[in-house]
């Protein structure tokens, strides 16, 4: 029900509920990050190889062990895909929220310099936003690469590294 509403359109409500501070931004980031992670995790769990389920039950896994030793590792690639989408969308929303609802941060600086027609500030602000976005994605990618080491030889993605 809530998913089709773009997180950005929550900004007015977020400001009414949480005021002008960090909290509406946190709320928006949560909205933007939650659904990609949730949807990808669900997808990852549903697409687990049924034979692995059998193999685990043959080896005497109980429900809890099954969750931690089979479901979680098998769904990790999808969870990471969700995380990467989420961090992109979270960053987008952070900047957007800072423009409107927060009185600090790169987004605020960008919007503020636009108001004062300080284009010498606009460009560096944009570059900083891009750089920080790139770095956060790079960090997730690095983490993913080291945790999903086992995927490297079978996937196209592995070839770059």
């Amino acid at each position: 029900m809530l998913r089709p509403i773009p997180p950005v359109s929550w900004i007015p409500l977020a400001i009414i509920w949480f005021g002008i501070a960090d909290r509406p931004a946190i709320f928006l980031v949560f909205l933007g990050a939650f659904f990609p992670i949730l949807m990808n995790t669900i997808h990852g769990v549903w697409t687990i190889d049924r034979n692995l389920v059998r193999a685990a039950s043959m080896m005497g896994a109980n429900e809890r062990q099954f969750l931690w030793n089979v479901v979680v590792p098998a769904a990790l690639p999808s969870i990471f895909a969700g995380l990467r989408i989420a961090i992109g969308s979270a960053w987008m929303l952070t900047v957007r929220a800072e423009m409107v609802a927060v009185k600090s941060g790169v987004g605020y600086v960008l919007w503020d310099s636009y108001y004062f027609l300080r284009y010498d500030m606009v460009i560096p602000a944009m570059v900083s936003i891009g750089l920080l976005g790139y770095l956060s994605d790079w960090a997730i990618k690095g983490l993913m690469g080291s945790i999903l080491r086992w995927q490297r030889t079978t996937t196209v993605q592995g070839r770059e590294g």
Partner: protein, 258 residues
């Protein structure tokens, strides 16, 4: 002593879309002795895999009883290792972690796990590949890992569901020889499902030929040709001819009945 006893086992599936019952396995009786190598031979869809799944505990018989080492089979359990048609290894674990996976579930420490797995990794000829992931190994090697895993769980009873069906002819032959070598060495009981007459006769110390659905045991004979078996020997061909004629007879009768 009977290692596996199958008594009057019947399995019917309920086909919900057509609201009718389909009989997959019909009153099967089979007693498998310790250190038997039994091949269940039959055409696809004859219920041989269903029978194996019931021994494994993945499925419950509609009626009848299955006992392994004197205990009734109720659910899958680590005392019956299964080797599947696909290797079904955990893709995120390397060989040295995949083989002792059930020990991890039992809470055995990593060091002890690896130690106990090592002898079986050596047995299936994968020494030196302990740190490889399944995706880095060939199909045959992955099946070896699957066999090592089943052996480590319980070296006494191994259930195999066409484990070599997806391998190329040459690898298949090597794996069959390897399996016979392992079986002779550790004297386990093996139930091996196959649709290939050659495979059943190369491997089995006993061959149970199943009929088309509903699966019954059509014939069940001991086959004690000396090993390694030469598939071109007259004695082998005689046996093959006999089995083939059995299958052909059965195919004609079922066609006439239909």
């Amino acid at each position: 002593m009977a290692e596996i006893a199958i008594r009057n086992v019947t399995k019917a599936f309920h086909d919900r879309a057509r609201s009718q019952d389909v009989l997959a396995v019909d009153t099967v009786n089979l007693t498998i002795a310790d250190h038997d190598f039994v091949c269940l031979l039959g055409p696809s869809g004859c219920g041989k895999s269903t029978l194996l799944n019931m021994i494994a505990g993945f499925e419950k018989p509609s009626s009848g009883l299955i006992e392994v080492a004197g205990t009734r089979v109720e659910r899958p359990c680590a005392d019956r290792g299964v080797v599947f048609q696909q290797p079904t290894l955990m893709p995120w674990l390397d060989v040295a972690d995949n083989v002792p996976f059930h020990l991890k579930l039992k809470g055995v420490g990593r060091k002890e796990r690896r130690e106990r797995a090592q002898s079986f990794i050596d047995l299936v000829g994968l020494t030196g590949f302990e740190r490889h992931f399944p995706s880095e190994l060939s199909g045959g090697m992955n099946q070896r890992v699957g066999i090592a895993r089943a052996l480590l769980m319980n070296p006494r009873v191994i259930l195999m569901d066409e484990p070599f069906a997806a391998l190329d002819a040459q690898t298949k032959m090597e794996m069959q020889e390897e399996l016979v070598r392992i079986w002779e060495r550790i004297r386990c009981t093996i139930v091996f499902v196959s649709h290939s007459v050659d495979e059943a006769l190369v491997l089995g110390s006993r061959v149970a030929v199943m009929t088309r659905r509903p699966g019954r045991i059509r014939d069940d004979f001991a086959f004690d040709l000396p090993r390694p078996r030469d598939v071109t020997r007259p004695a082998f061909n005689d046996a093959k001819r006999r089995v083939l004629s059995l299958i052909r007879d059965e195919a004609t009768t079922s066609r006439r009945a239909a």
